[in-house]
Symmetry: C2
């Protein structure tokens, strides 16, 4: 029987835990965790993401401070706002929503977020530390952390397992590979230059797909009994839907679920975990402030 890893349910449990912890932090230290969200321009998808994040904050008792800047905002203006938020005692986490308009260098803007408030966990200084046993990043990046939590809360043992990560982005593939390594998996990183990819992915006890190609991972690429974590969110045409399209993962779910021991669906797998981990990081930031 294949286990369906229900990210929606697991994220809900985590949000409940966070809600309790937020209430305790308020009661014991009088501190309400605060997240500043910075949205530049009118991208509707970005606006939707920020809205979901702020809604999730509200549900667990985290205060969110929304900043919406016009698409014409200069890099200097954005950097000034980020610096100001960096100083504020009631803002424990700062989230700069990407993508940013062309006149703003994304790396410069993200690097401007002080590492102590970088609840997205994007700071490059964190990246290498993720792979080092016994060291911890200031904040683990949300999506990779969400993948690990899904494995842990499904009871999947990581140590000693062969983990194969497909994709080496600095946002997902590389950090999740390093986190699996620090949990004692034997980790292989695959990418567009990998030769004979199916033979490599078939080695995986734990397969993480994060390449952004719809239905790329087919059943012949998966070892029977593997645990499959699908990070992809790709929109494909679907005339049967009113919207004309639907979201699918990097994995051919219908075929792979027949042979995997456990698998995440898309949507409802990794997706809900990302926001839950953002809340967790924001709580952690506020706790550190309380313990100072």
């Amino acid at each position: 029987m294949t286990t369906l890893i229900d990210g929606t349910a697991i994220a809900a449990t985590i949000r409940d835990e966070i809600k309790d912890d937020v209430a305790r932090l308020k009661a014991q230290h009088g501190i309400t965790p605060g997240l500043a969200t910075v949205l530049v321009g009118d991208d509707p998808a970005s606006a939707t993401y920020v809205r979901s994040k702020r809604k999730a904050c509200a549900e667990v008792g985290i205060e969110s401070f929304g900043y919406e800047l016009p698409a014409t905002t200069t890099q200097d203006e954005l950097l000034r706002l980020v610096a100001e938020l960096g100083q504020r005692a009631d803002v424990h986490g700062i989230l700069v929503q990407v993508p940013l308009p062309d006149q703003i260098d994304e790396k410069t803007a993200l690097d401007a977020v002080p590492i102590q408030k970088d609840v997205d966990g994007f700071n490059p200084a964190n990246l290498g530390v993720l792979g080092v046993k016994g060291q911890r990043p200031v904040f683990a990046p949300c999506t990779p952390q969400g993948c690990i939590e899904l494995l842990d809360r499904t009871g999947v043992k990581i140590a000693g397992k062969r983990a194969v990560v497909l994709g080496r982005s600095t946002i997902v593939g590389l950090p999740v590979a390093l986190m699996l390594l620090s949990r004692d998996a034997t980790v292989t990183l695959c990418h567009s230059k990998t030769v004979n990819l199916p033979s490599v992915t078939r080695e995986a006890d734990i397969l993480v797909a994060a390449i952004g190609k719809a239905h790329f991972v087919t059943a012949d690429m998966v070892k029977p009994g593997a645990v499959v974590i699908d990070v992809g969110t790709n929109r494909i045409a679907d005339p049967t839907r009113k919207s004309g399209s639907r979201l699918v993962g990097d994995v051919d779910f219908e075929a792979v679920k027949e042979i995997a021991a456990a698998i995440t669906p898309v949507p409802g797998g990794v997706g809900p975990m990302t926001i839950a981990m953002l809340l967790k990081n924001t709580l952690l930031a506020a706790r550190r402030r309380a313990e100072k």
Copy 2:
């Protein structure tokens, strides 16, 4: 025919190139690259290492400034010296020789070296960047960089190859794995918790051994035709030697050389490359100063 990868000869070629570049930098910019070496205490092996490094500097025209502090030096005293060297315009690189005496926290001392003068490439902020295509660390760590240079100068193609790294230290295993990844290898990291290790190492087209166990990699762990880079330097008893001991690598050289396409000996493989890369990083630091 197995290729013996002659690190001594390759390092000599690199030192000659550096010597020419140092002379050019002096002629064009009036800048002599400078390396400060900091040795704390009386460990004879450390003293020997520092001596070899300073000798190598002298041979290529790099000025070295030797600091020898007593074993009783406090952490504050060391940090003050490092800060002072960080300010000096004639010191382009700072090398704090490890191990340090017990009263000094090694990580604190190494992290105190300004990243622009960290010619050992130990700064943890560099680590993650090593695995990111199109990004470069301020300095690549010397031993991993030496491994990559050995492959390049032996004409070994890295892109698309399966590389297996045995050992995940922050000094060698992890950074060399990340560097191989950024060169488009499909990289697997193995370690003490890896299950059925021989079956994993046998997947390697390029096998890097960095676990510090004498003769650990036996012939049955190597795919015929693989390229083997042996980072280990282990001292074992040898009654036939006057000293009563000799240095050997992590690889059972005599057996593995029969099946490998190419292999580094120990000594005379990776070892000489580490110092050559230290010289290269110091030259690079001085060049950046010249270009300011």
